[in-house]
């Protein structure tokens, strides 16, 4: 029962399947009206047209807003697309030269490393904190509901607003973070959170964790609600302590939700842009540059659109790979439930 409800969240796969089912049902329905053999053949043709009519808008939408931009981006990555190209509409094809240029860019290796650190760090702590909070809020206590909804605030605030607030908080000289840390004597001189090449990546990761915790908490809390209470009761009767109950009931039964949260979180984190842009613009000296901000920098600051397209493609490939992992994971879950 429970396992089936979770893959329902898998919108793409689920939608296709439901669509097919509805189509088949509709076909039967029309066939019954159509009558005998000749009528049946004609009706099948008719259903084809009708089906096409219903699918066409979706396909046109996907083609215009997803396929075309993606294809254009792939094409652009093989072109020397400069400022002049915008006026003349001409951009010569240069083969793999853009890819070579990005590969050899002195900032590229560090940017990939930053992206990995940022993503893994964010995911690990977002998930950890989200799970801890979800388990915590399962207990009932006064004002628990209020507290839980307050924790959603980071998620509800526009990222530019929270980013700007964090920029002030993390200011080296007058920021409240350094003031507070110095008041309690944890540090004896201000940490240049956003102004040092060695700390800036950590700072943007910390803020991104803060942004991502509510998402993890909400989904995991939902998953926890689906675990039947009698399992815990039975385990408690058998003498299992809190840790064993968590280890042997909560974690295994939460696994499908975990897969969803982590893959979605990964894709969301890979494409994080606003947090970094508001806090550090990828600086100082590219020290908090990730692939997304790097792509923006290449395209819209350096105006080398071909290079930007290369990084964009790279991001898409990574995201698609993990999207497949995600679809795979949710499909497995459904398969097991059906068996």
């Amino acid at each position: 029962m429970m396992a089936e409800t979770i893959p329902g969240a898998a919108a793409p796969a689920g939608a296709v399947r439901v669509g097919r089912r509805v189509g088949r049902r509709a076909g039967l329905h029309v066939g019954r009206h159509g009558g005998r053999s000749a009528g049946a053949r004609r009706s099948r043709g008719g259903t084809g047209w009708a089906a096409f009519g219903f699918i066409a808008p979706a396909w046109l939408y996907v083609a215009a807003f997803y396929v075309y931009p993606l294809a254009a981006n792939v094409r652009m990555s093989f072109q020397d697309y400069t400022v002049t190209s915008f006026f003349t509409g001409r951009a010569p094809f240069v083969g793999w030269r853009n890819y070579e240029a990005v590969w050899q860019d002195p900032a590229f290796a560090a940017t990939v490393a930053n992206t990995v650190l940022f993503t893994v760090g964010s995911l690990l702590f977002q998930f950890g904190a989200g799970l801890a909070l979800a388990v915590f809020f399962q207990r009932r206590f006064p004002l628990g509901g209020l507290l839980r909804s307050l924790l959603l605030v980071p998620w509800l605030l526009p990222l530019v607003v929270s980013g700007t607030a964090w920029r002030w908080i993390m200011e080296t000289d007058s920021g409240v973070l350094n003031q507070a840390l110095m008041q309690v004597h944890l540090i004896d001189r201000p940490i240049p959170w956003l102004a040092s090449t060695s700390v800036s990546l950590l700072s943007v990761t910390l803020v991104n964790i803060w942004v991502g915790v509510p998402f993890n908490m909400v989904i995991l809390y939902g998953g926890l609600q689906g675990i039947p209470a009698h399992l815990y009761e039975a385990a408690a009767l058998d003498g299992a302590g809190a840790w064993r109950r968590f280890r042997h009931i909560t974690l295994p039964l939460l696994r499908p939700v975990t897969a969803v949260v982590l893959t979605l979180g990964l894709i969301y984190t890979l494409k994080v842009f606003d947090v970094i842009m508001v806090l550090t613009q990828g600086g100082p000296a590219d020290s908090s540059q990730t692939l997304t901000t790097f792509a923006y920098d290449l395209s819209f600051q350096r105006l080398t659109f071909g290079h930007g397209a290369v990084v964009g493609n790279l991001l898409i490939v990574v995201a698609v790979v993990f999207a497949f992992v995600y679809l795979r994971a949710t499909r497995d879950g459904e398969g097991r439930a059906a068996a």
Partner: protein
């Protein structure tokens, strides 16, 4: 579809037909729209001109529309005014160019001019009968590309050293003239939450712009970013930050942030331009003075980068271009140029007008003195300037925020700029 007979299928087919027709119509409408836009931008009514600039803050963002309306009325056209943030300005302009709807008038940052002129989308103003006579040679140079004038500045600016007179008087100091004076004063005036000096070393063109006076005054050029003189200049900045005379946050501050720090009393000196004057003058209890940027040795002259935006005319059709040029003539006329400079914190690009302004307004004397020797940022490298500038601000940041030795940071910059 013609074989429809009276079966219940009809409904389904009709639905399909309607859907297909609707989608086709929508697509056609979408295509039609873009064609319409292009036509409007290209050959539509010549009495409505479009204008684009990146002034978001007062007083410039209110003064410019006022001036535009005055000149539009004089020529007998209307001007559609558009403001976009600085970071999105070039992408926006390029996007308009790709749909053949270049704005008739664009006020662009002067180092961006060669790049835009190289595209062929701008009208050569020298051919259209606009003259640059009487303007500072450096700003005329900044508006030229391949021996033609494409952009003319209504006003220019440069950088100078602002200092807090009260703080200096309390410490018994006089404003610094040389680098040694500067370092000493900055150290002496750093106290409590106040730093000796504030400047912007942010990772954008602004950071390079602020560093260039020191780079050029030291005798270095943009063609060789790792020259000993350039290393000297970067070492000056690095010592100020490492010696705690300047905040480590300089790498995140824009020039507007620097101004805020100075106004809040968090810095005794700052490097900034005349466009901050309208804001600074509003704070009545702030007693400040302005001197030229300090130089390495007493006999050196300050060489500052020439700041300011130039008006350009986008190519369209003869009627529109003629109107745009007429509006531009009005905007660049001596009295309008003077009005703009006074209200928006610029130095008139007309040499005579600038000298007149300096005589009547002592606040501007330091700037006017510097503008005479200012250098256009693109003078050395032309279209290659943005790349060198990026390499330069990255080197500054690596050195100030990451502890990379100036020599090493600048060698990396030279490698990146030359690549």
């Amino acid at each position: 579809m013609t074989r429809i007979s009276g079966t219940p299928l009809r409904t389904a087919r009709r639905a399909a037909a309607v859907t297909v027709a609707a989608v086709t119509a929508l697509t056609a409408a979408a295509c039609g729209d873009s064609v319409g836009d292009a036509a409007e931008g290209g050959s539509g009514g010549a009495s409505t001109l479009t204008e684009i600039d990146y002034y978001e803050a007062a007083p410039q963002n209110t003064q410019l529309p006022k001036l535009l309306d005055e000149c539009a009325a004089q020529v007998g056209v209307t001007i559609e005014h558009q403001q976009v943030p600085r970071a999105q300005f070039m992408p926006k302009l390029l996007q308009q160019a790709s749909s053949h709807a270049m704005p008739d008038l664009a006020l662009i940052d002067n180092p961006d001019l060669p790049q835009l002129a190289a595209t062929g989308g701008l009208l050569p103003l020298s051919d259209a009968g606009l003259t640059t006579e009487g303007l500072y040679p450096s700003i005329v140079e900044a508006g030229r590309f391949q021996d033609k004038t494409y952009g003319i500045a209504p006003g220019v600016n440069g950088l100078a050293l602002y200092y807090n007179k009260d703080v200096f008087a309390d410490a018994g100091l006089t404003p610094p003239k040389t680098w040694d004076d500067l370092t000493r004063a900055a150290r002496a005036l750093t106290k409590g939450s106040r730093y000796g000096i504030a400047f912007s070393a942010v990772g954008t063109e602004e950071g390079s712009f602020q560093f260039e006076p020191f780079l050029w005054t030291a005798g270095a050029g943009l063609k060789q970013l790792d020259s000993p003189q350039a290393v000297q200049a970067l070492t000056l900045w690095k010592d100020l930050v490492d010696g705690k005379s300047a905040s480590k946050s300089v790498v995140t501050w824009t020039q507007a942030d620097v101004n805020d720090q100075f106004m809040a009393g968090n810095a005794a000196m700052m490097v900034n331009g005349p466009w901050q004057l309208p804001t600074l003058n509003e704070k009545k209890d702030l007693n400040f003075g302005i001197v030229p940027i300090p130089v390495p040795s007493p006999e050196a002259d300050p060489v500052t980068p020439l700041g300011g935006e130039v008006w350009t005319v986008g190519r369209s059709d003869p009627a529109r271009e003629k109107n745009a040029v007429a509006v531009l003539k009005c905007l660049l006329s001596q009295d309008k140029s003077l009005e703009w400079s006074t209200n928006a914190g610029y130095i008139p690009s007309n040499e005579a007008a600038a000298k007149q302004m300096a005589a009547s307004n002592p606040q501007l004397a330091a700037f006017v003195e510097e503008v005479a020797t200012a250098r256009a940022r693109t003078a050395e490298l032309g279209t290659a300037y943005p790349k060198a500038s990026e390499a330069l601000f990255n080197a500054i940041q690596a050195s100030l925020a990451g502890g990379t030795p100036p020599q090493e940071a600048l060698s990396a910059a030279q490698a990146a700029a030359g690549a």
